[in-house]
Amino acid sequence: MLDGLLLGLETAFTFQNMFFAALGCFIGTIIGMLPGLGPMSVVAIMIPVSLQIGDPSTTLILLAGVYYGAIFGGSTSSILINAPGEAAVVATSFDGYPMARNGQAGKALTIAAISSFSGGTIGVVLLMFFAPALASFAILFWSAEYFALMLVGLSAISAFAGKGKVLKAIMMTILGLMLATVGESSLFQAPRFTLGIMDLQSGINFVTLAMGLFAVPEAFFLAIDKIRGEKSGSKKSQEINNLRINRKEAKSIAPVIGRQSIQGFLIGVMPGTGATIASFLGYAVERNLASPKERKEFGKGSIKGLSAPETANNAASTGSFVPLLTLGIPGSGTTAVLLGAFIALNLQPGPQLMQDRPEVFWSVILSMYFGNIILLVLNLPLVPYIAKLLTIPRSYLIPFVLFFAMAGAYIGQNNSTELLILIGFGVIAIIFRFADYPLPPLLIGFVLGQMFEDNFGRAMRNANGIQFIWERPMTLILIFSAAIFILVPLIRDWLNIKKK
């Protein structure tokens, strides 16, 4: 391993490779900021270009940089204008956007950047030392366990089930689960609930739904607030550029970053999950671990609630390299596209890659350290300028938000019907907001819904019935912990009320 490491060091830190790592990160983070193009599309677009370089290490270093750069940049639109451009950054908007609303946009972006950096870097350390050992962990779970894991993920909704909102949060989650059933699932070939509309046959597009639920109502309420003559605190806007995190805040997010780097990485290692699940689970777990006082902050601008998903999704995207590099299995859409690049370069990802081409294997991993530093250096100085976007007058901000939402819905699919669907969801979301229904649970239900159903269906088919729940001890343990996650906060609250 030491020889390989040295060889990798030599390869990774040539001028050419450092340049392309930085270039990849730059492209990834800039395109990643735009909603609509997730890491997978960005990497897919970059492959033909990057193959022109010729050197396999350099090509892969560039593509890997694009990948984690896109994840890094993805949080910006979630935080600033409540427009999560891909599923992995939905949880980021839960607390990132309220922070920006409170005039702490600069701080929120800084925390996101530092959490992303830490998650990515700790992820690389784990990848470097434990990748071969984790190969068996990657294939530990069956559909039954993934099903149970989705249950744990759904417990994240409890963050939005505040006073008097428990029933509303549950209703929104169920609505999200129902929306996830639209279109063809991987269990049936027949389309369901499409109302005969062809554009719904492949299901509801995630970006369209997220933009419709979050960004469109945001633009609407920005406009309404102006008519009402409300000022969202001119004093607060002075704080917008403030990037400083004080010692107390640093102390409170440090353990979150530590835990979520490891948890997120491990979830990323498993092929049936990925950055999205990692971010939701990270959010749910950190909320349950927080003190009662801090827990109340979740969903309203908690720095812990922002740090957890941002750390977890970056760690998970690094973790998704484990099954690719050690087993040759692409666990996510993006790594599947990357596998295509490996094959085009005549490289076989898998256990022999480390032996046959150590310089490629190690230089790609080592370049990620450098890439993460580059991303931090690239992003931190930009924070004040990006945050300043929020100080521009609303009459300019509203079309900007709407443009982002519409571009996001349109780009990925190139389908103008998506715009009508976007407006439809926007109108519904505005009504829900007036009636004070929390919208994040809807999106959590939607994102987890399909995997929930698929894994349930497969587990049922494999076991010929529902006994899969108790057939494997691992499944039981996970379902048990999901129950604890959901019940303990409820019981705790109930006891508190009784005490009073």
């Binding site: 070939q189 027949a190 049936g272 087993l327 299995i329 256990p351 698929d454």
Partner: protein, 322 residues
């Protein structure tokens, strides 16, 4: 007066150009219609073909349009409805157009379009873990005949689609009941492969080129390929035919044009695609993507699709999907 002459000259020019298009035509540019989003298999096929054609100088330029919706149905409908204005358009498609027309997910089928050519393809393969006790397809058949429930087969697509139909076809050829296949559907080949390695599934049904890559990683073994003869990329893998089961299957990709495309233009498209195979530019694109050249031009393409429709249709009826 001068104005009039000018107009007359213009009209004359237009008439000459349109008359010219009735005789032999040369394809200068192609607009590729891709029925799915960026980054998918259809997208890669269209863009790769366009890249090879332009770089080799066979056509001047290529443009691309992604039109997703309806799992590909929207683009088919668009091409039929706007037939007249789309003579310069080629739509990429693949085996699902046959399957989805049979299940009526698509209201149209391939006969409603002008068939240009099947250009590339991939065979199907059956894969087991490297340490599996199934050494060949025969072992799998005997275990299946004893108890179909003991053989869980994973695949990267929904029940009733290719990955499910291939093992069903093979078991049927072995004289076993094809309806009893315990098929576990995953939404991606990689996840199905993980299920094979985790022990959740006993065998995996997947595309041959994907299986070649997996086998090279050393964790799995191919026990059968659906090609008529052994394939150079994996010469040690026996075909189903040589193991005594008369089954072949090709997952093709190819190009379609609008329904009322003039026959001289059809010939020109076929010609330009046929010329592409011998160019180094195409070889580069093909190798990069791991595609297999399976060229089925024009009427041969129609015969091939009709045959595939019949085989798949019969099987799906037997399995209860139709």
């Amino acid at each position: 007066m001068q104005k009039l002459t000018k107009r007359f000259a213009l009209i004359l020019a237009a008439v000459i150009i349109s008359l010219g298009s009735l005789s032999a035509v040369e394809i200068k540019k192609i607009h590729f219609l891709i029925p799915g989003g960026a980054g998918g298999g259809w997208d890669g096929t269209a863009r790769g073909t366009g890249e090879a054609l332009t770089k080799a100088g066979l056509i001047g330029s290529a443009t691309y349009e992604n039109m997703s919706g309806g799992g590909g149905g929207k683009a088919i409908g668009y091409l039929i409805e706007n037939s007249k204005s789309n003579h310069g358009t080629l739509m990429v498609n693949s085996t699902p157009i046959v399957i989805r027309s049979l299940t009526k997910v698509f209201p149209q089928n391939f006969r409603d379009l002008t068939l240009i050519a099947g250009t590339i393809g991939d065979y199907a393969a059956l894969v087991v873990p490297a340490a599996s006790s199934y050494r060949n397809f025969k072992d799998l058949v005997s275990a299946y005949k004893k108890n179909p429930e003991s053989v869980a087969i994973a695949g990267g697509s929904a029940p009733g689609s290719m990955d499910h139909l291939v093992p069903a076809m093979a078991f049927k050829a072995a004289g076993a009941d094809p309806t009893a296949v315990k098929y576990l559907p995953f939404d991606a080949g990689g996840k199905a492969m993980a299920a094979l390695l985790s022990g959740e599934a006993d065998a995996l049904s997947t595309g041959f080129s994907e299986a070649v890559a997996m086998e090279k990683a050393g964790k799995v073994r191919m026990i059968a390929v659906t090609s008529p003869e052994r394939v150079d990329a994996a010469p040690n893998v026996p075909t189903l035919i040589e193991q005594g089961y008369n089954v072949t299957f090709v997952n093709w990709r190819g190009f379609f044009a609008s329904p009322d495309l003039p026959s001289n233009m059809r010939k020109a498209y076929i010609k330009v695609l046929g010329e592409m195979y011998s160019t180094p530019e195409w070889e580069k694109v093909r190798a990069r993507n791991g595609w297999v050249n399976i060229y089925n031009p024009g009427d041969k393409f129609m015969g091939f699709l009709a045959q595939q429709e019949k085989v798949i249709g019969d099987l799906m009826r037997e399995l209860g999907f139709l």
